[in-house]
């Protein structure tokens, strides 16, 4: 009898949980607009958000993968929330930000740490990548096909570009911490929309008071290596020329360790990069040690190029030098913080590269 009673109670509890779900204050999936991409810019104190939303073009839950399955809307307002509310009216649905694939910030976003803070309270994943565009609306309005929805294709393009060392990922969390709490800088991929296509074109530097500077695709590999952002599956192609003969090698693995040292009030950053190499093309039969040496030199040049552009010419601490000083030279940290720009401009970089050839 007791057992039957207990089962009845359990069944009643289960039924209550099942039948009453969403009875109060729920929003049906069909009434929600799932944001895939969000562009954010500011002009004359007015924020403009441009949103790319998911919309199945097949009319069923299964999207037609040959179509974009996306629409774009925009809104503007004195605050970011007001702009989102404006876009919500245009979309005619409640906006849901939890599935954003990428945030694209444009000109006028001077303090990304503060202006993105409202997204980092849980509405957007802190790992969400952030990119920069001169015209974020153009990117969100470019609807790419191939893939379940447009933003998926954009993410594929970004993954491929990053895997080849032509750009780097910067998460919303890293951007907020580096440009906010740490008062350093972060590298943002530049995304451009032209002729109904979207492509990534080098990097820019975000810091307090805005985004400035440019680093070409060639030097982006140096940023990737110095940031130790090489992930499994990445493959950077390094073409080399030795005595007029050509060859190409793939970097299939890289591990970087950075260290800061201070001597006579001069900051030195040392980087040691360990590479895994694979010789991809060697039609002229160059000896392997010569190819390895050429790749090491190329990597060193790329790192010095990236460092000089960011640190020496733009005083942008892209590589977490402040954190290195805090960890490695705690006695120097306070002095460094007082005059960081000057120390960065006068700093020196020492890069050592070692490699292991994989056949």
């Amino acid at each position: 009898m007791m057992k039957i009673k207990r089962r009845l109670y359990l069944a009643a509890a289960a039924l209550t949980a099942l039948l009453f779900t969403g009875c109060f204050g729920g929003t049906e999936v069909g009434e929600r607009a799932f944001v895939q991409l969000m562009g954010l810019e500011k002009e004359d104190g007015i924020y403009t958000v441009s949103l790319q939303l998911y919309k199945s073009e097949s009319g069923t839950a299964e999207p037609d993968v040959s179509k974009a399955n996306s629409v774009s809307v925009s809104g503007s307002g004195a605050t970011v929330q007001a702009a989102i509310a404006d876009a919500e009216t245009e979309a005619g649905k409640k906006i849901f930000l939890g599935h954003i694939k990428m945030l694209i910030i444009g000109s006028g976003i001077e303090n990304p740490s503060d202006e993105l803070a409202l997204f980092l309270d849980g509405s957007v994943s802190p790992a969400c990548p952030v990119a920069y565009s001169d015209d974020p609306a153009a990117v969100t309005e470019t609807l790419l096909t191939d893939g379940s929805f447009s933003a998926e294709q954009l993410m594929t393009i970004m993954s491929l570009t990053a895997a080849q060392g032509k750009t780097v990922y910067t998460s919303a969390a890293k951007l907020a911490a580096d440009t906010g709490v740490l008062d350093c800088a972060a590298a943002l991929p530049i995304v451009r929309a032209e002729n109904k296509t979207v492509r990534f074109d080098g990097l820019t530097f975000a810091r307090k008071n805005g985004t400035a500077g440019y680093l070409s695709e060639e030097d982006a590999a140096g940023v990737k290596l110095l940031l130790d952002a090489f992930e499994s599956g990445d493959k950077i192609t390094v073409p080399v020329t030795v005595d007029g003969k050509r060859a190409a090698a793939f970097i299939t693995g890289a591990k970087t360790s950075l260290k800061a040292e201070e001597s006579e009030d001069v900051l030195t950053v040392s980087a040691h990069i360990k590479l895994k190499l694979y010789i991809a093309e060697n039609p002229d039969g160059i000896s392997e040690p010569l190819i390895e040496q050429a790749v090491r030199e190329s990597v060193r040049d790329s790192c010095i190029g990236a460092f000089s552009s960011a640190v020496w010419y733009n005083s942008c601490d892209l590589f977490g030098i402040k954190k290195l000083v805090r960890r490695d030279c705690p006695g120097f940290y306070e002095r460094y913080c007082e005059n960081a720009e000057s120390y960065l401009e006068d700093s020196s970089l020492s890069v050592s590269v070692s490699d292991r050839l994989i056949n």
């Binding site: 939890g98 980092l120 802190p126 998460s171 907020a176 911490a177 705690p330």
Partner: protein, 364 residues
């Protein structure tokens, strides 16, 4: 038969208290919020654990008789102690539920009525508390494995983002360390429950107590190191760094592990509050032996405390902080059991075979 059903193994005892600590750790990671040095908090956690180990010595020495000796019915001190513990456990339950409600409101359901959440989870806690220590102990074992899987998923998905540059160690100052240790103690209120669970532990109480302290130290240090390494300075910007850690790895494992975190955290919250509610109800029995519906009355009082604290925040906050403070933990977990141990005259006296059995020790 009924009597043996109430007992729990030392492993269940360990995990029951451990899961209570998991709840506070999932909600609050101190160094991240205050921007204090990692080294200070890592050291504070270790020192605090050593203090807790010392505080729990009287409970371990009292063994299974801890509850009856501390709450000695023939002594007015016993009744006063019962009243103090009752007050603490009611407030500590309210504290846990308030954390639960704040987290849900801040992160998942900002427009929902906060008192509704509290009422719903309190109802669940009343049911769980009525099932008794054994059921709670068994739930803790199950929940432990769910938590380990969730933690492994978080570690697996976010470890790739760890950066050794985020791990820096600053010199410690004694004053900062003292306040950090007190702060850490205030978040380890579950050790006060040890005295009330000791009487239910079948054997090897000492293993349970010190195993629990070791396990929670390892967990706290691991979580703090992981948060510091992965989130770095972003941890300062995040209200719930443990949750941020879960959502950080994103693409590598599952898109957003918020739901996983929410499930584990909700069950842990229910277990944590149910245990304290259960102890509060038992304490009501000590103070008012003829009282009926003790768990329901305890739950109503907890609801009342929460209602009062949320509506009249400013005036009650100090009292609330005092009762749930590190000092309260020191008094209730260590000093009162020590006084009880001295009064009972169990120090320095050779143990009789019956006492050895009572303490779960071997007779060899």
């Amino acid at each position: 038969m009924e009597e043996t059903k109430r007992y729990i193994g030392w492993g269940q005892f360990l995990l029951l208290l451990f899961m209570c600590r998991v709840f506070t750790l999932m909600t609050f990671v101190p160094f991240a919020r205050d921007g204090e040095g990692l080294s200070l908090r890592l050291t504070a956690a270790a020192v605090s654990t050593a203090v807790q180990a010392a505080l729990l010595i009287p409970v371990v020495l009292l063994g299974r008789s801890a509850t009856s000796v501390i709450l000695d019915k023939n002594n007015i001190c016993g009744t006063v102690a019962a009243a103090l513990y009752l007050l603490f456990f009611l407030f500590y339950t309210a504290n846990s539920l308030m954390h639960f409600q704040r987290f849900l409101s801040a992160r998942f359901f900002p427009y929902a009525d906060s008192l509704l959440w509290i009422a719903v989870i309190l109802a669940v806690c009343v049911y769980c508390a009525c099932l008794g220590t054994e059921a709670l102990g068994r739930s803790a074992v199950l929940l432990f494995w769910i938590f380990i899987i969730a933690l492994a998923a978080m570690v697996f998905s976010s470890a790739g983002d760890a950066d050794s540059a985020n791990l820096y160690f600053e010199p410690l100052d004694a004053r900062g360390l003292f306040s950090a240790v007190l702060d850490d103690l205030s978040r380890n209120g579950e050790i006060c429950a040890a005295a009330f669970l000791a009487g239910r532990v079948r054997d090897k109480l000492r293993c349970g107590v010190y195993g629990f302290l070791t396990a929670k130290l390892v967990l706290a240090e691991t979580v703090m190191l992981l948060i510091a390494a992965v989130l770095g300075d972003f941890a300062v910007l995040s209200d719930y760094p443990f949750l941020a850690l879960g959502t950080f790895g994103g693409e590598r494992f599952i898109q957003r592990s918020d739901s996983l975190y929410l499930i584990v955290w909700t069950i842990t919250a229910a277990l944590n509050a149910a245990l304290f509610l259960h102890i509060a109800a038992e304490l009501f029995g000590e103070v008012f032996p003829k009282m009926r519906f003790r768990t329901a009355v305890s739950a109503l009082l907890v609801f009342g405390i929460l209602f009062a604290v949320t509506t009249a925040r400013g005036s009650l906050e100090e009292l609330y902080s005092l009762i749930c403070s590190g000092w309260a933990v020191i008094i209730l977990a260590g000093i009162i059991p020590l006084i009880a141990l001295i009064i009972s005259g169990k120090i320095g006296r050779r143990k009789s075979p019956s006492e050895k059995i009572e303490r779960g020790e071997s007779l060899q």
